[in-house]
């Protein structure tokens, strides 16, 4: 018991050590002058800028929270749309052969196109506003939702389907009560990948003329040669991404608790 506790504590210490070592080395390199402060700010400067940006709109025109809010609105809009359309589509494609034949060739052609390659055509068709950005994010989040939901259905244990069949379940009952719950593992993997994709495509989407957003803030930081602004933008993206992943895993434990008990 004590041994297990010690082991757990050591592992936590290692996690902390990793972070401390990384940021400590970085801080030191800047202070010693190996890295010029004009190119890369020290973590301590980034923290100062972070605190400053919480209440100040200079030099990029909005507070950090305003940027964050604008970005999260965009990425959640694209993400939610992808989940709402992508998961049912993937599930149905996995279960109904007709749907599979109809959609799969189309999907296979669209799938390899990277989200960023959509930008030019999206500008021409949807412009540069909210809709255009949401669409780019949607594309990036949509693909993993479909693929994983599809696989989740395909990987249903055939014996469980046999059980349901001998119990006289209809095709729809089998889909609803057997295939969907058993696909939940894969579906959530897809959602997790989608969430990460939607958040990381954000910067690309915000390169389409913006006046707000974390991606925009990073761009301004580059134009003004303010590495601290860039780093604050990047770290905020990183932290929020990690936080969203954590919230999602809490949600998963609620929806699919049988995996964890």
């Amino acid at each position: 018991m004590d041994k297990a506790k010690n082991k757990k504590r050591n592992l936590i210490l290692l996690s902390i050590l990793g972070l401390v070592l990384f940021f400590g080395t970085w801080e030191l390199l800047v202070h010693v002058g190996v890295i010029s402060e004009r190119n890369l700010c020290a973590p301590s400067t980034a923290v100062q800028t972070f605190l400053y940006k919480l209440t100040n709109t200079k030099p990029d025109g909005a507070t950090l929270f305003a940027h964050f809010f604008s970005s999260i609105k965009l990425s959640l809009a694209g993400f939610v749309l992808a989940v709402v359309i992508g998961i049912p589509l993937g599930l149905f494609m996995g279960y109904y052969k007709g749907m599979d034949s109809f959609f799969t060739p189309l999907f296979e052609v669209v799938r390899p196109i990277p989200p960023i390659a959509w930008i030019p055509i999206v500008i021409l068709t949807l412009g540069i506003g909210f809709k255009a950005k949401v669409f780019i994010i949607f594309i990036s989040a949509f693909v993993p939702c479909v693929v994983n939901s599809y696989l989740g259905i395909k990987l249903t244990d055939p014996t469980l389907i046999d059980v349901a069949q001998t119990f006289g379940a209809s095709r729809w009952q089998i889909f609803r009560t057997i295939c969907i719950p058993s696909s939940m593992n894969m579906v959530f993997t897809g959602v997790r990948v989608s969430l990460a994709a939607s958040w990381s495509t954000l910067v690309a989407a915000e390169m389409l003329a913006s006046t707000k957003g974390l991606g925009y803030m990073i761009q301004i930081g580059r134009n003004l040669i303010r590495p601290d602004i860039i780093i604050v933008g990047m770290l905020t993206i990183g932290l929020v991404g990690a936080l969203m992943g954590w919230v999602l895993s809490l949600f998963e434990k609620k929806v699919a608790p049988w995996r964890y008990k």
Partner: protein, 251 residues
Amino acid sequence: MAVLKDTIIIKDLAKTFYLKSETKEVLKDINITVKENEFLVLLGPGQCGKTVLLNILAGLDAPTGGEITFVNGRPPMGDLGVVFQRYALFPWKTVMGNVEINQKFKGKSKAERQAAAQKYIELVGLQGFENSLPKQLSGGMQQRVGIARAYASESDIMLLDEPFGALDAQTRYSMEDEILRIWEKDRRTVIFVTNNVEEAIYLGDRIILLGGHPTGVKKEYVPDLPRPRNYTDPAFLKLRNEIVANTDLVL
């Protein structure tokens, strides 16, 4: 002993699989008459097609020859109790959720199906575990859930496909007693598939020995031993040797 009525008549049943490069005859000339409420054991070596035969009986697969007559009319899908080798429980459902599912498919009300499920959970001795997930139970307990779930179909015919094959030896012995206890308490026609000779003799009213290529009925044995049977009873051992001598070896 009263004369038992026939309940399933299997006549000249055959099953051939047509694969790309070959045709594989698995079952041929299977003739078995199953009596009402008897405990019938289908005994055969591994890979001999026992499961194929059971799947055909369960309606999961179609024979390529012969016919099966259910004397009281073919029970529709849903009125069959099948117990699978690897439990095949729904991991996301509790014990209650697993046991009630047959009646749920049939559209029974929640109160009705849960009352029935409760009865069968108690029949297999799992009261107190209604809200456990399969993962939280031992192998023996999981298979009890499998048995309760099959019984909850309220079918007259129970098909058990090597139900104890995945259990360790100790649990297996106690589950053999368990299944007899359940069957004596709630009489139904049981067709029990196994590859284990002792298990067959311990359980069966009749034992149908399957074998040959393609698989057919080799012989029928009726153990004339009172229950509970004793594994070390000389008559038990004599029958065991007789059956073993007659069984095809699979290496």
